[in-house]
Structures are given as C-alpha cells and as structure tokens.
C-alpha cells in the first residue's frame, strides 16, 4: 500500500468532501497560509485566537469529519449572515450619484482604492474630506460601539443621511483618509495608517486586554535587551532626530514591549527602523500596536522570526517575478551572479525603510498600505495577503525603474547601487512612478504569487529524503488546504525509523517551518526534512526527531472555535 493511501473505508469520500469544502472556503474567503500562520502564532503565544473583530476566520484542523463539518457549517452560516447584513445595509443606503467634476472625487478615482467602492461610500468620503480629522477624533473619543456590526450599521445609516456621519465604518474611513492623504493632509497620516491596519484603539480588541505600560515593565531576555541597546544608536544615523535621547528612549521602549509581548519573535534587527519610522507619525503605544498588526497581519512575523523563515521564500518568489516581469535585468543579474539575497534582505525586513529616505519611504508606505489592500473590505479578511504581495510589486517597480541604468553596470556597481543609491530618490515624480509601475506590476504578479509560494514548498518537499512519499504528498498538499495533511499524518509517522540526518534540529525551526506553511503540527516530520533543505543548522539545543514526534503526538489535535466572532453562537468547543 502506498504510504499516503488513506486507510478506512470512507476515507476517499472524506477526502472528496474536504476538498469540496476547502475549495468553497478558498473561494469564499481567501484563507491562505498567512492566515494560518498568525492564528498559529496566537496559539503559540498561549493566548486565544484573535477574536473576530478584524474579520479573521478561526482555524480548524481535525481528521474527524464531524468536527470539520461542524466547522465549515459555521463558517458558511457566518458568511451567509455577512452577506445578508451587507444586503440589508445596501438597502438602507440609497445610491446617491456623485456630482461631476468634484475635485476630490476625481483624485479618488485615479486611485483604484476609491474606484472600486460603492458610490455611497465615495459620497461620504467626499463629505468627510473637509473635516476628516475632527470626525475621526470624535469617533475615537466618544463612540463606544462595541461591536463592529452595530457600528457599521449605524454608520451606514448616518452616511446615508450624510449630515452627521460621526461614525464611519473602517472601510469608509480608510478611503476617506486616503483621499485626505492625496490631498496633502499629512498630519493625520499616523492615525490613517493605524486605522488602515486596524490597529487603532477602537479597532483592536487586544489593546484593552494587554496594557502597553505593563509590557514595558516586563523583563525580556538579556540578549534582546542588549541587542536593542546596540541598535538604537545605529538606526537612521543619517538623521539627527534619531540621535536624540528621548527619541531613542521611545524606540527602545516600543521594541522592549514587542519582545515582551511576542517572546517567540523577541527583537529582530530591522524592527528598529520600522519602529523609529512609525514613532515619527504616532504615539509610542500606537506604534506598538501597529507593529503587532504588521507582525500578525502583514506577514512580518515570517521576516522577524528567530530563523527568518520568510526570507528564503521571498527571495525565491522575487527572483521568479523578476524573471518574468523584467527579463532583461534578470538575465543581467544572472550573468553576474547577483542573487536576490544580496540586496533584497533589507527591503523585506524593513519594508524598504533601510534603503530609502524617510520622505520617500513615507510615500512608499502610503502606497504599500493603501494600494496593497484596496480590495479589502472590513467584512472580509483580505487586507493581509494583498498587502504583503504588494511589497513584491514595489520591489519590482524599483528594479524596473532603474533597469536601463543597471544594465550598464557591473556587479560591484549594481550591488552598490541597489544598497545605497535608492536613498537619493525621494522626489514626488519618483513616487508617482512607483505608484504607476507598481499597480501595473501588481496586476500581473498578484495571481502568480500564490502559485510561486506553492512551487517553493514543492521544491522543498521534492528534496525529501523519502521521495516517493513526497511526490504523492506534494500533489495533495498543493491542492490547497491544510485539512488534507491531517489525513496523512498517521501514515507519515509510520514511515519507520527516521533517517539520521533528521536529528538535532531546533524545535523552533521545525515549528516555524511548518507554521510558515500554515499546516498543523501533525505534519511536522515532513517539514523537518523540508527544513533540512533550507540549510538549517543543527543545534545542541535542538530536539531529536523522536522527541519531536513524541511532542507532536502529545500536542494532540487541539482546536478551538473562537465563537466570540460568531455572534449568536456562544458555545466554545475545544477538542483534545
């Protein structure tokens, strides 16, 4: 019998059933690996899965079909409810035509963000532009609507009457804010970015559950404390601002809080740039939560994790994208043996901050945060993937803008150029160019990135020691969904004695490698080997494979519905 063959009479049907439902899910709500990633991270941090407010779906993995059926039914009914709500809202809000030639609207229309929105939203936008800030403030201080649903309903009513739109649902606020940004109202940028990432006070439940001030007091491991101390002086040294004692103090405070809040990440070089940068736009506490959102929802956890699991993958994806999108440059790079890893690390780890001036970065981040998530709707958890994918679009546009120049350069010049010369950018036309090119790029690459992701994993797996198993797993794995793997795990563990090269991996490497895939720990052994291919090193602190498997087994398949997000169903299930 083939190792991955499913035992039991109804396994075949079960598989079909899973497939159907996962396809359904993928279609309906773009659950992708990063979703699992952050959900898993939350579990790791021994906290409950993030509540629903930011529109995520809970994770359910089980080989028990009843449990899965139940789960899917819930998701489905939730989706239906959401749909109904939307419809109800649409009926409540009359479709008002915009006036022609309105300058603000025109500005908005240039931007894809606004052009996709229903008219009523644009309308409210427009009306808000003049007093955008004050309204937001009102919302921040006065309104205590606890549930998103309620607030969105109220607000759409209000925006329909469009006289006193004191409460705006997030989407409208974002787009509205975006228009403000484009109109040059930059003093509110920090708050706009915050609400865009759903990190503002009223958007993020966690903010009330953990006190920033407490986190700052908590002890963190010496290595992180020391490293933060070393890096604070060395962040943005070209700007006097960052040499000021109080500025540095704020930075280290936020970094400390992150290390305390996310012990799995601790402090990672590169974070300091992001924190320093954000601190110029918002109060420290907001910076902290913004960072947490970047980590959990923007995919930065991959890049700041203790083994930088996201980097090799991103290198792979970027390299492939350059090959298809900027083939001439790719060939030039290839001829010189210029690898993505030689220049793209700081791009990815600081989201372009390290290599660019602050003014330019600021505009770049506007693009990144708003262009990236334009299809996001507060009811749908789309922001995340699209957001990070846009990093690739920007990277490509930066390369593409300098293609002609770089084609004439040799290796040394290119390497130097890519590291330092971008700092000389920063004028508005450049930003506009990035915007233009990156949105064009994004259209081309957005559909591809998902498959490149899978391709990368497939490559890892194809190097599995047990190739025949790998070959079969691959096929199934990349049909798309976590649940499949669970079906196999029993088989996986029956592979027999592990090959010697399996021993001695850090448990962290393991879990991260597999978390990065978004799979449940039951498939751990597979990723162990995949991880080997990545060149992970063995460590004295590492666990032997046998121990790991033992651990994994003892983990059981735990799963929690976070039913708080499914308003009326207040039951809470935990199956061990």
């Amino acid at each position: 019998m083939s190792p991955v063959a499913l035992s039991g009479s109804n396994r075949k049907e079960e598989l079909d059933w899973f497939r159907t439902d996962s396809e359904f899910l993928e279609e309906q709500c773009p659950l992708q690996s990063t979703h699992f990633l952050y959900l898993c991270h939350y579990q790791r941090a021994k906290r409950k899965i993030l509540p629903n407010k930011s529109g995520q779906f809970s994770l359910c993995i089980s080989s028990n079909s009843n449990i899965m059926a139940d789960f899917f039914a819930r998701v489905r009914s939730q989706l239906q409810r959401t749909e109904e709500k939307k419809k109800a809202q649409a009926q409540l809000s009359p479709d008002v035509k915009d006036q022609e030639g309105d300058p603000v609207r025109d500005a908005g229309d240039k931007h894809t963000a606004t052009s996709e929105l229903p008219k009523e939203k644009k309308k409210s936008l427009k009306s808000k532009l003049t007093s955008g800030l004050s309204k937001k403030d009102k919302k921040g201080s006065g309104d205590k609507d606890s549930t998103r649903k309620k607030s969105s309903r109220t607000s759409s009513k209000k925006s329909a009457t469009k006289k006193t739109a004191s409460v705006l649902p997030p989407t409208e606020m974002y787009v509205d804010s975006l228009t403000s940004l484009r109109a040059g109202v930059i003093s509110v940028r920090g708050q706009i970015w915050l609400s865009r990432l759903k990190a503002s006070r009223q958007q993020m439940d966690d903010r009330s559950s953990v006190s920033y001030n407490t986190l700052v007091q908590l002890p963190i491991p010496e290595e992180h404390r020391e490293q933060i101390g070393k890096d604070i002086d060395r962040t943005y040294p070209q700007y006097d601002l960052f040499q000021q004692v109080d500025v540095q103090k704020k930075m280290s405070q936020v970094l400390h809080a992150i290390a305390a809040f996310r012990p799995d990440l601790g402090y990672c070089q590169g974070m300091c740039y992001v924190v320093g940068f954000l601190n110029t736009f918002m109060p420290v506490e907001d910076t902290f939560w913004f960072m947490i959102q970047l980590i959990d929802h923007f995919g930065m956890a991959d890049f700041w994790s203790s083994n930088l699991a996201g980097l090799p993958r991103a290198f792979y994806i970027l390299e492939k994208l350059i090959e298809t999108e900027i083939p001439k440059l790719w060939k030039h790079f290839n001829d010189m043996d210029m690898q993505t890893s030689m220049y793209a690390t700081p791009w990815l780890m600081t989201l372009f901050l390290y290599n660019h001036s602050i003014p330019f970065s600021t505009r770049l981040w506007d693009i990144l945060l708003f262009q990236g998530g334009t299809r996001s709707d507060y009811n749908q958890p789309r922001l995340i993937e699209i957001g990070f994918n846009y990093v690739y679009a920007i990277a490509l546009s930066i390369l593409s803008m300098h293609e002609e120049q770089m084609l004439k350069m040799d290796f040394d010049q290119c390497a130097h150029f890519l590291q330092f010369s971008c700092r000389k950018l920063g004028s508005e036309p450049d930003v506009e160019q990035v915007l233009r090119i990156s949105s064009r790029m994004n259209e081309c690459i957005e559909p591809v990135i998902g498959s490149l992701n899978k391709e990368y994993t497939a490559q890892l797996l194809s190097n599995l020691y047990l190739t025949d198993v790998a070959a079969e797993c691959e096929i199934e794995l990349f049909v798309g969904f976590t649940t499949y793997i669970v079906l196999y795990t029993d088989t996986l563990f029956d592979w027999g004695s592990p090959c010697p090269s399996w021993s001695g991996y850090q448990s962290d490497h393991l879990s991260l490698a597999f978390l990065a895939e978004g799979y449940h720990s039951m498939s751990l052994s597979m990723f162990l080997v995949a991880n080997d291919f990545q060149g992970s090193r063995s460590s004295q602190n590492g666990l032997l494979l046998s121990e790991t498997i033992e651990q994994t087994r003892s983990l059981k398949i735990t799963f929690e519905y976070d039913t708080t997000r499914w308003d009326s169903d207040n039951d809470y299930a935990s199956i061990a």
């Binding site: 890096d231 060395r234 890893s341 690390t345 390290y354 290796f411 390497a415």
Partner: protein, 206 residues
Amino acid sequence: MAGQMRKALTYKLVLLGDAGVGKTAIAVQFVKGQFNPFLESTIGASFMNQTVTLPDETLIKFQIWDTAGQERFHSLAPMYYRGAQAAIVVYDITNRNSFEKAKEWIKELQQQGDPNVVVAFVGNKVDMPEARKIQPSEGESYASENGLFFIETSAKTAENVSELFMKIAKQLPSIQRQKDITSGPSNPGVKPGVGAPSKGKGGCCG
C-alpha cells in the same frame, strides 16, 4: 576603461562576528579610510569593494560582504561565506561573549566553508585598552591552534586595518600558487561567488 593596465584579481571576502563588534567599521575604514561612530546596523548584508596592491604589483580586488551580526541572521550567513576565498572573523576585545561567538564562527567555517578559505581572527577595538577583557595572548593562542592568523585592530584609529587586508591578500591561495609554480597554468581571477571550487561538487562519481 581606455588604458587598462593590469587586471585585478578578484576575491570574495566575508566579515563575520557578533553584533556590534565593528565589522562594518573595519570594512568602512578599509574602503573609505573613515571611522564613523554612528554606522547603521547591518541588515542582511552589505557590499563594498576595495583594491589593494601587493609589493610585487599584483592588484587584489576584495569584494567584501559585511554580514549582520544578530544571531538569527546566522542562517543567512552561508549565502555569503559560500564561495568566499577569505573570511575575517571579528570579536570585540572588550566583550567576552563576542569572543566566544567568534570561536563558533571559526568552527562553522571549518566545517562548512571552503577548505582553502583564508581566515583572519581579529580582535577589534584596541583603542579601548581600559575596557579590555580578552588578552592578545588568548586570541593568539586560539588562532594558532586553529591555523588562522591573528591580529588586533582598531577600526577607530585605523590601527592594523590595512595590514589586516594586506596580510590576507598575501595569503590568498592563487597568489601563493602563482608564486610557487611560476609558470603553471594557474587560475587567476577567480570569479566572484561562483568561481571557488567547493567541496563535494563531484558530478556523478559518487
């Protein structure tokens, strides 16, 4: 260039060591002849190059990969030391941990790096004698045990920095080869990154 006189031999060199020991400062001192106390922390790796002329007029061009020191970047390091013909492993003489870390780097290079790589074991920050924790003898003896060459530098005062690179240049394998076998069809100008013959690339003879 119009009158290209002599071609420089290009070598890949990698700087390794704990965070904040002065890897970037050494490289910058060597390349630009400057010391800047406020250098930014290196994320991933940064690239520089500099050419030196040996007494016999040979031009040696170093492609310097300066790596990030934080432990978690360790997993990226092979990308940079792979194919490197020279490595500088730096520790801070005022910091015991960094010395231990440097030893780990040496071990790793011995196990995973190119067998012919020229390794320099460097104690930096000799401009701070009052804070010294590692005596020169300690570094010296570790280096000699492991067949490395040892030198103490100060990126701040430039003490021994160019000597360091000069010494490496003199030890580079193909230079030696060229000197030893004067007429042999040696392999000048090892290509950056790719050229170095790495162990175990033996086709199908396994």
